[in-house]
């Protein structure tokens, strides 16, 4: 789960990680009041779950409260489009008004769990303020990695080692090491999947401060962090992804595809997306209906797929183990009748009660082409696509 910058900074502050003074505002008047209170220059930052805000006009330096109010008015209520959002952008409902910082140096700091090492890893770089993927690609020698330990966590020595690698001035070494230790606690104690400070800033007066902050929380651990779960902002999510999430379906909308995919199992769902490509069209979504989906959940899954205006044909690939093919088939038929969907379907159905599932679909009167298996589904899909108007879009 993503949270906003202002929420991430609240958490950081609680764990003793210094951040610029700031206040969140929902109206231009509140933005003005916050700027007056902070005094001097302030930065107005759109609060959205997407990177690349600066280039998209979502971060502005205001030299007085009038300007802060003006910039806030220009952002609030709009859709911010960055290179990480779709063309429709994400809504700006809040702005963060933060005191401006005199920057002497910009650094980078993040923590993730490295699945292959099986522990959290701190990644640090002297190259802050740019996308870390670019640093990793062009100057990998400027990335410094230190693995935590399941028992020790991050020892103070490790934190000092990272601070030294960041080449911060001698006077800021201690504060930087403390910040790194505290950031590690933020990561572990809140069950984060990502904590990223980009940039971490050394100010002209020699202080170290987290100028920006990004925190992702692990969905699977939210059950033990009820306070953090309440930070969820559904408005920042894709509408269909949100609906799927509420129905307990693993769904990801993919831009530009026209083949709606409905599959059981994450691996098979990915393999099914892959074969649509070879059949000559892009997948419109990833969808795993899960192992024990009932008719209602199948109906909702089908409705989500047909609500996607990009979808022109549906590919159902089911290898029923725990799931039962007849239940899935009935769910599809119910939802198709309810939504009056006329989209053609290619269906491969195997495993538990597959014969019964195929019978239900055959007798439904829906436009269905049966496929024997995964490879067969690619061929049948290719034939159907060839017969459709528009060809490859």
């Amino acid at each position: 789960m993503n949270i906003h910058e202002y929420q991430a900074k609240d958490i950081l502050q609680r764990f003793g990680v210094p951040v610029p003074r700031g206040e969140v505002a929902s109206t231009p008047a509140e933005a003005r009041a916050a700027a007056e209170k902070l005094g001097g220059q302030v930065v107005v930052k759109a609060q959205v779950h997407a990177g690349g805000r600066g280039k998209a006009g979502g971060v502005k330096l205001a030299s007085n409260p009038d300007e802060a109010e003006k910039y806030a008015a220009g952002m609030l209520g709009t859709q911010l489009v960055t290179h990480q959002t779709g063309p429709q952008g994400v809504p700006v409902r809040k702005v963060l008004i933060a005191e401006a910082t005199d920057i002497a140096d910009e650094l980078y700091l993040s923590i993730i769990v490295d699945g292959d090492l099986g522990v959290p890893v701190v990644i640090a770089s002297t190259e802050g303020g740019v996308e870390i993927e670019v640093v990793a690609e062009k100057t990998p020698e400027k990335l410094f990695r230190v693995a935590g330990d399941p028992l020790l966590g991050l020892s103070p020595y490790h934190a000092r080692d990272i601070a030294a690698a960041l080449k911060v001035p001698a006077s800021a070494q201690r504060a930087t090491a403390a910040l790194i230790s505290n950031l590690y606690r933020v990561f572990v104690e809140n069950d984060c999947s990502l904590v990223e400070i980009n940039p971490l800033v050394i100010t002209k007066s020699g202080d170290v401060i987290a100028l920006d902050a990004k925190i992702n929380l692990e969905d699977d651990a939210l059950f033990r962090h009820k306070d953090l779960a309440s930070l969820h902002d559904p408005e920042q999510e894709d509408e269909l992804e949100l609906r799927a999430h509420e129905a307990d379906l693993a769904y990801v909308k993919l831009d530009g595809g026209r083949v709606g995919c409905m599959v059981n199992g994450a691996g098979l769902a990915m393999a099914t997306m892959d074969i649509t490509k070879w059949a000559g069209a892009d997948p419109a979504n990833f969808l795993d209906i899960g192992g024990s989906a009932d008719e209602k959940r199948i109906e909702e899954a089908f409705k989500i797929i047909v609500s996607d205006k990009d979808v022109e044909i549906i590919l159902v690939n089911l290898f029923a183990g725990i799931a039962r093919a007849d239940v899935v088939a009935q769910g599809i038929v119910n939802a198709a009748k309810e939504t009056d969907a006329k989209l053609p379907m290619v269906v491969a159905m195997r495993g538990t009660n597959a014969d019964e599932g195929r019978r239900i679909l055959n007798e439904s009167g829906l436009d269905i082409s049966a496929a024997p298996d995964l490879a067969g589904a690619a061929e049948v899909l290719r034939d159907r696509l060839a017969g459709m108007k528009g060809g490859s879009r």
Binding site: I112, G115, D116, E133, P150, S193, A271, M273, F319, D373
Partner: protein
């Protein structure tokens, strides 16, 4: 010989709620020697009138001599169940539960490594050994056939897919192992490849990977150095966009190494027979074995 599960398996099932009970029935129906059921407050009762219930794994092992445990408890309690099974001395602990917090697994994997137990999973379909009719987990027993191809996969349904394709071209399976879709898991591709290489029932190996992580690359390195049996491999997720989690917690591309194309390149270099989609595994294996 068999891989991890076989004629000597004496199974304990922990967590007999709706899914756990259903799957325990399927395991017994298939022929698995299930000797104990662990669930709170059912002492003195019997599962399907045959298998005794216990409240703790420790008691169950002492009474029945179980050597293998499978876990169906809810994800929030799965880490604790793994500790309980490890402490009771079970040689093999298989965790089917999906959604175990990653930071629980950081600690659990470290704990398991200093014990004598082996963990498979979490978030996995488990294992099956068709020749001895032993299955631990949820792989449908009616799709497998005894034979000489070993199957290892991160994905449950792609394990079934590979099995079905092998059967279609007339090839049975020696053992099948689902290692699970989570980023931190107990038994890795490399571990299972080593077991298949040693296994006298296995002539060839199917390995199905996914995007994310570098486990397939580590497997490629191991195959290049230690595996003499032919390996057919496929990676799911070529069309997955970077940075988006594809259902499995581990299936997310966070760098170049996580890409399907990169994994395929490294596997090909290691001498693996790489197919462009899991759809072509059966045909390729048939061709390789002639």
């Amino acid at each position: 010989m068999s891989v991890l599960v076989g004629p000597n398996t004496k199974l304990l099932v922990q967590g007999l709620g709706r899914d756990g009970s259903f799957q325990a029935s399927r395991m017994r129906e298939y022929g698995t020697n299930m000797v104990a059921a662990v669930h709170p407050n059912r002492d003195g009762q019997k599962f399907e009138d045959v298998v005794p219930y216990f409240s703790t794994v420790k008691e169950a092992v002492a009474e029945t001599g179980a050597n293998t445990g499978v876990i169906f408890v809810p994800a929030a309690f799965a880490a604790d169940a793994i500790v309980e099974q490890v402490d009771a001395g079970l040689e093999l602990v298989v965790c089917i539960s999906e959604g175990v917090p990653v930071q629980d697994m950081v600690k659990i994997n470290a704990y398991v490594k200093q014990s004598n137990s082996r963990l498979v999973g979490p978030n996995c379909p488990g294992l099956i050994h068709p020749a001895s009719k032993a299955k631990v987990g949820i792989i449908p027993g009616n799709i497998v056939k005894p034979g000489r191809v070993g199957v290892v996969s991160r994905s449950g349904t792609l394990t079934y897919e590979a099995i079905a394709q092998l059967v279609q071209v007339g090839l049975g399976q020696s053992s099948c192992v689902g290692i699970g879709g989570d980023p931190i898991h107990g038994t890795t591709f490399t571990d299972v490849l080593a077991l298949f290489q040693e296994d006298d029932e296995t002539d060839a190996i199917v390995m199905i990977g996914e995007i994310g992580g570098i486990r397939e690359q580590l497997a490629a390195e191991f195959i290049h150095e230690h595996v003499t049996k032919p390996v057919v491999s496929a990676i799911a997720g070529q069309t997955a966009p970077p940075g988006k989690r594809m259902g499995h917690a581990g299936a997310i591309i966070t760098g170049k190494a996580g890409l399907a194309s990169e994994k395929n390149r490294v596997l090909t270099e290691a001498g693996v027979h790489v197919v462009e989609s899991p759809a072509y595994i059966g045909a390729k294996m048939k061709e390789v074995l002639g």
